[in-house]
């Protein structure tokens, strides 16, 4: 994949995975992102992002934890990788740096 950077939605998903620690999978990530961002998200959109992040090497995953609530199907649990963490940190740093250069905090002027 050419662009190894993070998209906005990707960043949200990545953050959600971090927050959820060991219980990050499709439904929980969706709920987490919805909780914080306040928008309603399609399950399919979460999945495609999770798989993409995994392809980029920011996430790793394993199957596990079937429950009756899921009709006895296992879930794919996602975890953040070292590179993922770095990428998140880098994105955060870039922002932080840029914030410092804003002369005055006067929104809307």
């Amino acid at each position: 994949m050419k662009n190894k950077g993070l998209g906005e939605f990707e960043e949200l998903v990545l953050l959600a995975v971090c927050i959820l620690e060991d219980t990050a999978y499709g439904v929980t990530v969706k709920k987490e992102v919805e909780k914080h961002s306040g928008r309603s998200i399609l399950l399919g959109a979460v999945h495609i992002t999770l798989y993409r992040l995994q392809d980029k090497g920011f996430l790793k995953s394993e199957m596990g934890g079937n429950s009756e609530k899921r009709g006895d199907r296992r879930k794919r649990l996602f975890k953040i990788t070292e590179t993922g963490m770095q990428q998140l940190q880098a994105a955060q740093d870039v922002r932080q740096k840029m914030w410092q250069f804003i002369p005055q905090l006067k929104p809307g002027v």
Binding site: V27, L43, G44, I48, R52, R70, K75
Partner: protein, 889 residues
């Protein structure tokens, strides 16, 4: 809490299984499942909706099954290969493909036209809100009669009051038709009296006005949008007053034969109906509130039918059944009602009611007294039958040619089989090819349809049928489905046949040609030509009949007579004015134009048996009528206006016999009483002439003519032969001076007579076109077979020529089997077509002579075309230089 434990719907899950990658399936379906379970306390259907919405959103490239893997790749690849091979085959054998595609296209276009017609008819009366529960009541006056669309006026109320299964009912009483006048505008309106439940039962779109109250008050009218525009232009019509003068116009009238106008007073417009936006079997310009009737009946402007159960021709009745009421309950109620009302009525003791679902009216069974022109079911059956025959013939061509052609594809089939293709695979391949051909044909037939539609709409009968043959998207879908079906039907036999081949034989190119196979192909070919000849002969016969009708001797002189509609004006006044126009030779007046379809009857009391009546045609004519139409008096004198107590009358020769006289002279001076008890004195007898339509009967009916200027509706103006149009325009000028309100309406008598036969010409056109198509398709098939045979025999022809055979001999050898085929067809079809045509013609009035001559002409025509087709190929083959045909390999 409702249904907390409900599970996600099964069907969407299966869809997911179908499209989702296998390795993602478990986790994603699990996530969806969990999502569904956590949706919480919302209605089930909403949950399902959300579930499906999220599920469908997995239709993204990342999640889709890839067409990869051994099995899938092969399937896809083979599919691609079938398409490729199919297309290559179509392109490689251009002539064969053309024959197949063109034949199918031509046949399909006819079928498509019928589909269009049916689609149009099916779209009638679909706009009614309660169309599933609305029925029209039909009345059958006696056992064995065609049901009447009309019923007595009191039915509508009686049925609603007595039977609780009926929610609402409405009645449309016939009898509104005349001129509406507003300021200086005038419009002719035809329609019905309607009650205030009209808009509750039927959902005609009211664009302005209140549908609950529009028809409740007396003297209120609802008119159609286009007539409102005509009367009011830009003004808002609702609430305005119009003057209405009834002229006795009826909804079905085409050219508005009318009585003199009667003033019905002032009416208020309470609503506008947009009749252009909908398609309904009911057509009207005006609905007058039924409460107006009281006033009109009191003033004796209209007959009071409101309680007459025996006046079964006066109203239409529509009922709305309550929910969940079955048709049989309605049937019982109607049976009960007719027994109650009619068992005591002597004349109508057999009268019975039946019901017709609103959506079954168009297209529907033949019903008498209908107020709109439409084709009953029967012509559709006949047309569909013709179209199917043509379609089957085209499919047979395909079968014939592909089976023949399959010999040259033996190697391909062999290789496929050796490589593991199953019979199913091969069948699929060949079916795909036939479907491909059919789809190509679909494209071409859409073009043909365009022209066919134009030609069809130009048929005379379509002036009255109002077909709307626009092709909509849904109709295209039907067409495509139809093409797929045709492809499958045409392809199934070749597919079965070809896939049966054994691979060894196939590879060795060994032709397993059993006698039987050729037999089938010959039978198919022969049957095509049999049908063709049948159609050809029939169309020639009908054409002859048409010509016979147009040249028919009516017994009166219609040349240079212009019939002018009086529109209720005084005939004396108009004829005096007209007679001063140069070029006018003679003028007479009459009640209706003879032999154009309108007749009146009169009943005389039989002198020999007072209980019996003698029915005769009755025509009211002026003194000059007999002279003007060139009728000759056999005995007695013409009509004079001599005033005595007895009305004077002239009868025709048939009437002389009917009244029991030996010869015309005897009849002169005798006096007859009518059933209404007025007496008629016969003063003259005219030679028989034809006053009814040619198709209505063989015999000239007895006729009686009286003079009654009150009832004259037409002037017969005899004009000079040179430049009659100038005289007509002068007449029009004069007309405008006397009557500024009505249009000058005239028709040349000869045209009018010709027009009565146009329906026969329509039949000629349709059958003619069908026979043209059938012979075309049969010849195309023959052409294909001839090409194929000559191609296969190129080497044989070459060798024969080298050994010294003459061209003529070779042509004969090549054509022999085909000629045999044609001859067999003629031998079967000629007697058959003779018998079939004799059969219908024998029941036809005023028929043309039909003998073997017509059959011979048809046979020769078909033989000629067939030989031409074969000859084109065989002669070419025979002429070929043997060097060319023998040098390759």
């Amino acid at each position: 809490m409702r249904e907390q434990n409900s599970l996600p719907p099964k069907l969407p899950d299966r869809v997911l299984n179908w499209f989702l990658k296998d390795d993602l399936l478990e986790e994603i379906s699990g996530d969806l499942y969990e999502y569904y379970m956590e949706l919480g306390d919302i209605p089930e259907w909403k949950k399902k909706l959300f579930y499906c919405y999220h599920l469908i959103n997995f239709l993204r490239p990342f999640a889709l099954k890839k067409l990869e893997g051994r099995q899938k790749l092969n399937n896809y690849g083979m599919f691609k290969n079938y398409f490729k091979v199919g297309f290559r085959n179509i392109l490689k054998y251009k002539m064969f493909s053309f024959i197949n595609v063109f034949g199918l296209a031509v046949a399909m276009s006819v079928c498509m036209l019928i589909i269009l017609m049916l689609a149009d008819q099916k779209s009638y009366d679909q706009f009614h809100e309660n169309k599933e529960r609305v029925y029209r009541i039909l009345g059958t006056p006696y056992v064995g009669s065609v049901p009447y669309a009309t019923v007595p006026v009191p039915l509508s109320d009686a049925i609603k009051d007595r039977y609780p299964i009926i929610e609402k009912s409405t009645s449309l009483r016939k009898g509104v038709g005349g001129d509406a006048i507003y300021k200086n505008q005038i419009a002719d309106l035809k329609g019905y009296f309607a009650d205030d439940s009209f808009f509750e039962v039927l959902s005609f779109p009211l664009i302005s006005g209140n549908k609950n109250s529009a028809l409740s008050l007396p003297n209120s009218v609802v008119i159609s949008k286009d007539k409102a525009n005509q009367l009011f232009k830009d003004e808002n019509p609702v609430g305005r007053h119009i003057q209405f003068e009834d002229r006795g116009l009826r909804v079905l009238d085409i050219d508005g034969d009318a009585d003199s106008s009667v003033d019905w007073g002032t009416f208020t417009i309470t609503g506008i109906v947009d009749n252009d936006a909908i398609k309904s079997h009911l057509k009207f310009d005006i609905l007058m509130s039924i409460s107006t009737l009281n006033r009109l009946q009191e003033d004796s402007l209209i007959v009071d039918n409101s309680q007459k159960w025996d006046a079964y021709q006066s109203a239409f009745s529509y009922i709305l059944l309550k929910d969940e009421v079955s048709r049989s309950e309605l049937k019982d109620a109607l049976k009960n009602l007719s027994e109650r009302q009619y068992s005591d009525l002597e004349d109508l003791s057999e009268y019975s009611f039946s019901s017709q679902k609103l959506t079954d009216i168009t297209p529907g069974i033949i019903v008498a007294n209908e107020d709109s022109f439409r084709l009953p079911e029967l012509p559709y059956f006949v047309l569909s039958m013709f179209a199917s025959i043509i379609m089957i013939m085209a499919c047979l061509n395909y079968v014939n040619l592909s089976v023949a052609k399959s010999l040259s594809r033996m190697k391909e089939i062999g290789v496929r089989k050796v490589n593991g293709a199953t019979r199913k695979n091969l069948m699929f391949q060949f079916l795909l090819e036939s479907i491909l051909t059919a789809l190509l044909a679909l494209v071409i037939s859409t073009f043909i349809l365009f022209f066919l539609k134009e030609a069809f709409m130009n048929l005379w009968v379509n002036k009255y049928l109002n077909f709307d043959l626009n092709v909509t998207v849904s109709v295209y879908l039907v067409f495509t489905a139809f093409a797929l079906l045709v492809g499958m039907i045409a392809g199934i036999y070749p597919a079965l046949f070809i896939s049966r081949r054994k691979p060894v034989n196939a590879l060795k190119s060994q032709i397993e040609e059993k006698k039987g196979k050729w037999g089938i192909r010959k039978v198919l070919s022969v049957s095509q030509f049999v049908f063709s000849l049948l159609f050809i002969v029939t169309s020639i016969v009908i054409y002859n009949q048409f010509k016979f009708f147009t040249e028919f001797e009516y017994g009166f002189d219609s040349e240079n007579i212009v019939n002018v509609h009086l529109h209720g004006n005084d005939h004396e006044l108009i004829s005096t004015e007209f007679s001063s126009v140069p070029g006018v030779k003679n003028i007479s007046a009459c009640e209706y134009i003879p032999a154009t379809g309108v007749t009146n009857l009169i009943s005389l009391v039989d002198k020999r048996n007072e209980d019996e009546v003698i029915e005769m045609l009755h025509q009211k004519v002026s003194e000059t009528f007999i002279d003007n139409l060139g009728l000759s008096l056999v005995a007695g004198k013409g009509l004079t206006t001599s005033a005595s107590d007895d009305e004077l009358t002239i009868i025709n020769e048939s009437a002389v016999n009917k009244l029991g006289f030996e010869n015309p002279e005897e009849a002169i001076g005798s006096i007859w009483k009518t059933r209404e008890n007025s007496s008629l004195k016969i003063v003259g007898v005219v030679r028989d002439f034809r006053a009814t339509l040619l198709i209505s009967g063989d015999e000239i009916q007895p006729m009686l003519m009286t003079s009654d200027p009150e009832n004259f509706n037409f002037l017969n103006v005899k004009v000079s032969g040179e430049n009659p149009m100038r005289v007509v325009s002068e007449l029009e000028e004069r007309w405008k001076k006397l009557d500024s309100r009505h249009r000058f309406k005239y028709e040349f008598y000869q045209n009018e007579l010709d027009n009565t036969n146009l329906v026969v010409f329509d039949v000629v056109s349709v059958i003619g076109y069908i026979s043209f198509l059938s012979i075309l398709i049969a010849c195309l098939g023959l052409l294909g077979m001839a090409i194929y045979t000559t191609e296969r025999k190129t080497k044989e022809v070459g060798i024969r020529k080298v050994l010294g055979a003459a061209e003529m001999n070779i042509v004969l050898i090549l054509s022999k089997s085909f000629m045999k085929l044609l001859l067999i067809s003629v031998l079967i079809a000629a007697p058959l077509s003779f018998v079939v045509n004799k059969l219908w013609l024998d029941n036809f009035p005023n028929r043309v002579d039909f003998g073997f001559g017509t059959v011979v002409i048809g046979s020769l025509l078909m033989l000629g075309l067939g030989l031409l087709t074969i000859g084109s190929q065989t002669i070419r083959a025979a002429r070929q230089n043997p060097v060319e045909s023998l040098k390759d390999e």
